[in-house]
């Protein structure tokens, strides 16, 4: 696609429920990143996929968070047993390759846990 597409744009969920956030990167981009932006905070790195390599999961805050990338394209970030502190905007980005050449970000998914 022309840009990075994220869905849903907004998600309200009850505490304790599981949620899935989807990211569709730019076609041909081999690197895909997830970041979290909490209210009034900067962006916190969560996870990074590069081609067929094992993902860098070093930023995932707990084992309730997981992500996968199927077929080297679409990625899904899953949060299990959501907590109120998970409320944030989850941003996905993609880039041509593993080099830090600057990403293209999606518009994000605003997650609210009530």
């Amino acid at each position: 696609g022309a840009g990075v597409s994220q869905s849903p744009s907004n998600k309200v969920t009850e505490k304790g429920k599981d949620v899935e956030l989807r990211c569709d990167p730019i076609s041909g981009h081999t690197a895909l990143y997830w970041y979290r932006q909490s209210l009034g905070q900067g962006l916190e790195f969560l996870i990074y996929f590069q081609g067929n390599s094992a993902p860098d999961k070093s930023g995932l805050p707990s084992d309730r968070f997981s992500a996968e990338r199927t077929g080297g394209s679409v990625s899904t970030l899953t949060i299990q047993r959501t907590q109120q502190e998970d409320s944030a905007v989850y941003l996905c980005a993609s880039s041509l390759d593993r080099g830090p050449y600057g990403y293209t970000f999606g518009s994000g998914t605003r997650l609210t846990v009530v």
Partner: protein, 114 residues
């Protein structure tokens, strides 16, 4: 550990006035440096980046930034601010040995007075 500091949480300038947003980083070698802008409800857009070479880099929307190794700084400037520049600005660093992962500052919110 690598870090990025944006000392100013919120700045207000008058339309037509000059602007400088500060960014300091902590990293052992020369990192790759970026400035992103985020308008309300939008994803992040890359303004400019520095990899090497000329320490004064030009970006989109009339922005420029200067890399000063001695000060570990990468300040963003614009000679004349427009009302449409009101947004949040993020400085980011890509440590060269961590793929494309970016470390972001906390952001500076820019307000523009008429």
């Amino acid at each position: 550990a690598q870090s990025v500091t944006q000392p100013d949480i919120h700045i207000t300038v008058s339309e037509g006035a000059s602007l400088e947003l500060r960014c300091n980083y902590s990293y052992g070698a020369t990192p790759y440096l970026f400035w992103y802008v985020q308008s309300p409800g939008q994803g992040l857009q890359l303004l400019l980046k520095y990899f090497s070479g000329d320490t004064l880099v030009q970006g989109i929307k009339g922005f420029e930034a200067e890399f000063k190794r001695s000060q570990s700084s990468f300040n963003l400037r614009k000679p004349s601010v427009h009302w449409s520049d009101a947004a949040e600005y993020f400085c980011a660093v890509a440590p060269g040995d961590q793929g494309g992962k970016l470390i972001f500052g906390q952001g500076t919110e820019l307000s523009v007075k008429p």
